[in-house]
Subunit: 298 residues, 4 copies
């Protein structure tokens, strides 16, 4: 009974009370401390959240899965876009599938020789919300006259179009059961993608977690692309906000990202190298080095 | 490598990704699943959050501590207000300290014989936010001509006023180190409170967690009031959203809540009994039954 | 780059790293800080864990659900056992269903007029583990010559026995899908229980969470017992380690726990009142006071 | 009231109830689902825990920080040991500081030309617990006649010895306030280390988190080594169980890990390459590729 106010044990204000949780599996989760929730809404396709996290700035979350953070979206998007665009010798027409955040588009537009970019995303709400709440992501890219944004189903667009592209960048979400991409990323789909590409076209796709023991979906995507293109190159980049080594795949019949020297890649990047925070020729070769566990597949 | 999309183990959408955490101590915490954050702001006095929780509806949180939920704020506020107002034989003038949510005021106004209620809360932002986001809490009470709302420091008001009250309801937040109430709830303060009450006045105060092993602050408050009033009666109500048996104290020199029968209490409540979801004469006697661990104090 | 060791922000040792989580629902969970895990094993019937928690001492957990803690098992077990034994005028033969911890038995043995207690628990491992790791729970009760422990299925025992009992204490676990009690707690089962009781027998059962909004299973159990016994009395006790107002039900054709005065109950408890930490005649009447939301059922 | 057992919403057994939490900072944490706790104890120097995690097998934790998991300790230890041993042209005498798990020793012993290894760890309990509970870590290495294990303070040993080493591997824990290494990893300490090395000696040290935005301690260690050795090479490896790109530093006055080709490295590894799960010549060059944010330091 001799307790005084000052001796009362109370929880410290340091303890974070507001969390966004990424469940990587049922028995593994990452807890992100949240300053406040900036946006919560539901489109016809998915639940959209933006959190102001304490560690990674604004974090975009679709259907509960983190998509990118202010803090390190450059790593994710530079690694997605530039390897394909420097591997193709002269990319002029680009197709982006998904990519509603606008940052994939922003990165592609850095390459001055590009003449047109078609971006097909099914969800207008994601595009609008990101334009408003994450303006640095698209950074005005939608206003560029080279860009044509189509709010449409990727599969439907590909079936109906007769356009041809030098590079295709697939920035579609994980094909989880409830996702709009569920059932989409099949051999049939990528065969259709290939039919809309020039003969020496280069595909790059984001392909989920790729660290050892977390790479089931990554292996699945690698298996899907095998047999469609001659050269299949897995590569990976560590994304702090995902707490994971993220997987990408580059595929082509004509070009191989392992051939060019880092000096030649840096030469290509020269006009905008100072705008890149993550990628250059040396990083290119580091991230394309396959880990031992993936080599039997290649 | 034979994984197919359908066999991929992915986290179920059932898993909640957005949480508000109440740290009861450093080694004990309750996780509230959140639908979305409705409000986040900071007044000069405290951080104010309102979460749409999955289980308790809207939950008001000040400086990280839960204050009340749509789902069960009636339990908290009915237990805070009515025992004092039925214990005093004829309460006409009421003072509410704190209570920015407006629900303490709403409950007090049910008693038809009341002629005036002065409510003193330091934080105009809390009052405004609750009026806007939790309108059912005050339910128009601020517009009642019997009510005078003062945005002021409780201590300052008490020192300056020469008004006298029959009942005082203390709905101040926990005196945690960072709280506007830190250092306030002392013997000096309650002596000052008493000096503004009629000789037969009745005080009721909310007094923190009171379950066995969680009652340090409750015991402290009981000790503070002892010696100031002759009759000190602890009582407790289980609040689901707090996951805790919540403590209150009633104090008076003239009246004892244990004396009246439950039938007489129900008689007093008759004009508005149907509006009460929690409290009546039988509950009154149940909640005033002191647990064994508190009896040595009484 | 001018960081020094002392300015490095590192997690404080205060932060608890080892947790047992009680999922109350998918969107609500209580996190118990753990000092160490004392036992982990699996019997043919359930997974058994004992944690040394920071707040509640040793905590027994079956199939992930908390059963009782050193800190407050007295509340749970006193509330389960004594109301029935003081409501029956002269209980001599007692049947305990479940109760493998041994504490239900310990409480029943306090009543000196009891002549025999049969305890039927399906899981010998729980009994053995609790004897070894939680010896204060049974406190030697199994060695009392009045006690007969049967490791058996409650349903099977009841069908085969021709013994009759004055009081039955049902301390069976929640009938969750994976529990050994799943599908057990039906009208048929309790009719069978009643057939093994004397005409004026009294049943008490533990009946899950009972706080407002958490009482689905409790209402279900109340509904199950209605029609089998004439008098059905719900009662509740707040258990700190469950963070919940816990539900119990007393049922009888002949006796009503509301009839006796608290003074008469205290008279009955006199021989061992000093050994009870929670229960007495006044607590009896407090816990039997039904909340408004349950009254329409009664 | 029409609830039936089958419609009752209950938490799924899928939900994990037992967690080890790595607090990366106060507002970021990784939750590891735990099968059971295998060991909990306290030595004079630190608290030692081993958890059987659901995802990473056995996980060794010292003072709350994860040290290594069965699932991927090979990545951590191969990356710590082999770069230094292949960079030095002919390492014969090796000193390991810390490394109580025994796996650093195991990796060093793979190099056939090594003649002696002195391992200095302050905590005999860690060594003993790991031998018993994680036998695959040391895999008999302590019985190798080339090995001398000293239970001693690293600083004290270095001051007193007159032995000289070709390579030093620092596998000391993070210098957090409560750690036995707190205050140890200073310029004075590493100057002392260097004084016990041959003129062309190579140091490798584990150096904490190194991902962008998590690399404060890593930058600190880089700064500490600068000025002591001429060549300072940061390198990094993603460790799944740490959910982090882990930092290491190689330092030498005479040798540079960037000089040798991957083919020459693979030649050196040939006698035991099939025993390595992670490291080879190509991985060597990938992990030594500095990220853009570290280049200004180099």
């Amino acid at each position: 009974m001799e307790a005084t106010e000052t001796t009362l044990v109370v929880p410290s204000k340091k303890e974070c009370r507001h969390w966004y949780v990424e469940w990587q599996e049922n028995d593994s989760a990452h807890y992100h401390g949240v300053e406040r929730q900036i946006f919560h809404g539901e489109s016809p396709y998915q639940v959209i959240d933006i959190y102001q996290t304490k560690k990674f700035g604004k974090l975009l979350v679709l259907d509960g899965d983190p998509q990118s953070s202010e803090h390190d979206e450059d790593i994710y998007h530079e690694a997605l876009v530039h390897p394909a665009l420097v591997t193709h010798p002269n990319p002029r027409a680009i197709l982006i599938l998904g990519g509603g955040e606008g940052a994939t588009l922003r990165e592609a537009l850095r390459h001055p020789q590009i003449e047109k970019i078609v971006m097909v995303d099914i969800d207008a709400t994601v595009v609008d919300v990101c334009k408003k709440e994450l303006p640095a992501y698209s950074n005005g890219a939608y206003d560029n006259p080279k860009v044509r944004l189509l709010i449409d189903d990727a599969n439907k667009y590909l079936k109906e179009t007769n356009e041809k592209f030098d590079c295709v960048i697939s920035d579609l979400t994980e094909p989880f059961p409830e996702s709009p991409t569920h059932g989409l990323l099949t051999k049939e789909f990528f065969t259709l993608v290939k039919s809309r590409m020039s003969a020496d076209g280069v595909l790059a796709m984001q392909a989920s977690h790729a660290g050892r023991g977390m790479n089931r979906l990554y292996l699945h995507h690698l298996q899907t692309l095998k047999g469609i293109w001659k050269t299949i190159r897995p590569y990976r980049a560590f994304i702090p906000a995902f707490y994971s080594e993220w997987g990408y795949i580059l595929a082509s019949d004509a070009h191989d990202p392992l051939v060019s020297t880092w000096q030649k890649i840096d030469e290509k990047l020269k006009p905008f190298a100072s705008q890149l925070r993550y990628y250059d020729g040396r990083i290119h070769h580091a991230i394309f080095t396959p880990p031992k566990e993936l080599r039997p597949l290649l």
